[in-house]
Amino acid sequence: MRKMLLAALSRVLQGPAAAARPVSRVVVASRNYADFTSEATFDIKKCDLHRLEEGPPVTAVLTREEGLHYYRTMQTIRRMELKSDQLYKQKIIRGFCHLYDGQEACCVGLEAAIKPTDHLITAYRAHGYAYTRGTSVREILAELTGRKGGCAKGKGGSMHMYAQNFYGGNGIVGAQVPLGAGIALACKYFGKDEICLTLYGDGAANQGQIFETYNMAALWKLPCIFICENNRYGMGTSVERAAASTDYYKRGDYIPGIRVDGMDILCVREATKFAAEHCRSGKGPMLMELQTYRYHGHSMSDPGISYRTREEIQEVRSKSDPITLLKDRMVNNSLSSVEELKEIDVEVRKEIEEAAQFATTDPEPPLEELGNHIYKNEPPFEVRGPSQWIKYKSVG
């Protein structure tokens, strides 16, 4: 109905010449931003609370601008991960590759609620975060393909990408959690009103060092939001088989917690704003459990269907996909149109293709790079290679 109206409108405005053009072109050319509303309010799921009287709001306002930005960002991550899948199967990406598709609402929602001056650390399923924290798709893909144009010059790989106020990308399950509390300690020490978001998965949630960290963060009131991305499986082990209590938002015991619908970006955003406010006010840490889902297996070597059914994966895709959820909300509330979002899809695809092109043609790092970055601010020295006759210079 809308299409017909717009088409009619455009023909009137543009005169007889417009009639010859294909319909879609006409619609695009005549799209008028006055047709879209500037913002809409949505009901969002109430969060389960632990040791809290009140939780995050149950409604959220989404502006058109925000919506388009979230959509583009999530779609970029989605396509970037799918491209990585492709490159891995072509053996252009090697080693470990843990993909994030399905979980986009988490990283985009979190970023929407914090400032670039806040800090974030996560584990190895980190490509989405590398992107939201400021690394370009080009640099991410080139890091995956091990080229010198990668964000870590090809020396880190999938699990070790870093950016300003983004501390990776950590390979040892759970180790990033004490690190995150340490970053929060620095935030408090420097007194600049910054916080640290410290992420871990449902698998890592059973690590002892996390409980040690809960204790110290609460004792010292560190401005740390502990965030458990619960995607229901720790590698091939379902949460029921790994944890005596799967209420991850309660596992911090004396630390207040909220359980959030991690597939709804607005839920994630509002919950994170709520938690961030708590931390910034000096009340100490908070715990957020984001209930989310990964479409891929644990890593590229895991088909992901031996411990869960294809039906389950399909059900999540059709009923809870974070990008579809946002798209439907926007289209149904006049924040955007199917066509406009499709345009974004096209642009994103192009960006990913170009980035992949770069990532597959950029040269590998030069051999000299092998010895570098052992020490910081050290005069150049020699590094031993596989034999006493093979030496590399270490600079910077």
Partner: protein
């Protein structure tokens, strides 16, 4: 000045010099330090700079490393390095490797310090030497002071270094007094990391050692000099990066090499020195195979007579020198 007081002075000076430096560990604040190394510091600097931690090595070590990544300069104390084993992942994987993995983007200026190696009658689980374990890993710096000057200068240098430094102290050395030179009393006295010191010049044999064993080497040298044998005693001071050049220069001069350490023999500091000497110019100057004196290849027993015989004693060094020189 005792080693303990030298360390205390170094901590005080570095805390005063740079706001970003702070100390955390078990009992470092209100207890004044399990071995009193941080005596008086909490009173002077307060809760923000001197932090008592719960008994959570893996947790607080990770916290120290994270704080360093975010721009602070923590000193993380292990009550003994035996407990660092619980946190070793944070020391090696988080602290040691991050600069490399990030291609230079994320430096980790943290110091891990505490007593290492054998003490007196503390049993097997509290007596292990970690010089070889940490010395094995690229990305870390590992220092091992012997004297008060070593302790003060190396601690100050470690705090000012932008890299993760493991400082292996020795509990039995804490109470030992040493002369402090004029230079060593200055607030900016630093001992360079990566440079060995010739504690005693000699011509007949090179004794290379680190930490407490340096003292034993000097004692052995004092006895041997009466028999006309002049030992050159090299105090490594740094395990990684090791100053092989100083050892080589000494071996070229004396033609005989003996390494002395408290740690276990297999894959130890002495083993590394011997391998490196073989690869370099000094090999051609050896008149006898290089010799290693190490801790006995057993977990440390408790009974005094057993414990004593599990570490290289002065008599063992003298015996080894005579054997090497064939006298």
């Amino acid at each position: 000045m005792t080693v303990r007081d030298a360390l205390n002075q170094a901590l005080d000076e570095e805390l005063e010099r740079d706001e970003k430096v702070f100390l955390l560990g078990e009992e470092v604040a209100q207890y004044d330090g399990a071995y009193k190394i941080s005596r008086g510091l909490w009173k002077k600097y307060g809760d923000k700079r001197i932090i008592d931690t719960p008994i959570s090595e893996m947790g607080f070590t990770g916290i120290a490393v994270g704080a360093a990544m975010a721009g602070l300069r923590p000193i993380c104390e292990f009550m003994t390095f035996n407990f660092s084993m619980q946190a070793i992942d944070q020391v090696i994987n988080s602290a040691g490797k991050t600069l490399y993995m990030s291609a230079g983007m994320v430096p980790v200026p943290v110091v891990f310090r505490g007593p290492n190696g054998a003490s007196a009658g503390v049993g097997a689980q509290h007596s292990q030497c970690f010089a070889a374990w940490y010395g094995h890993c690229p990305g870390l710096k590992v220092v091992s002071p012997w004297s008060s000057e070593d302790a003060k200068g190396l601690l100050k240098a470690s705090v000012r270094d932008d890299n993760p430094v493991v400082m292996l102290e020795n509990e039995l050395m804490y109470g030992v007094p040493f002369e402090m030179s004029e230079e060593a009393q200055s607030k900016d006295f630093l001992v360079p990391i990566g440079k060995a010191k010739i504690e005693r010049q000699g011509t007949h044999v090179t004794l290379v050692s680190h930490s407490r064993s340096v003292g034993h080497c000097l004692e052995a040298a004092a006895v041997l000099v009466k028999e006309g044998v002049e030992c050159e005693v090299v105090n490594l001071r740094t395990i990684r990066p090791m100053d092989v050049e100083s050892i080589e220069a000494s071996v070229v001069k004396t033609n005989h090499l003996i390494t002395v350490e408290g740690g276990w023999p297999q894959f130890g500091v002495g083993a590394e020195i011997c391998a490196r000497i073989m690869e370099g110019p000094a090999f051609n100057y050896l008149d006898a195979p290089a010799v290693r004196l190490t801790g006995a290849d057993v977990p440390m027993p408790y009974a005094k007579v057993l414990e004593e015989n599990c570490l290289p004693q002065v008599k063992d060094i003298i015996f080894a020198v005579k054997k090497t020189l064939n006298i």
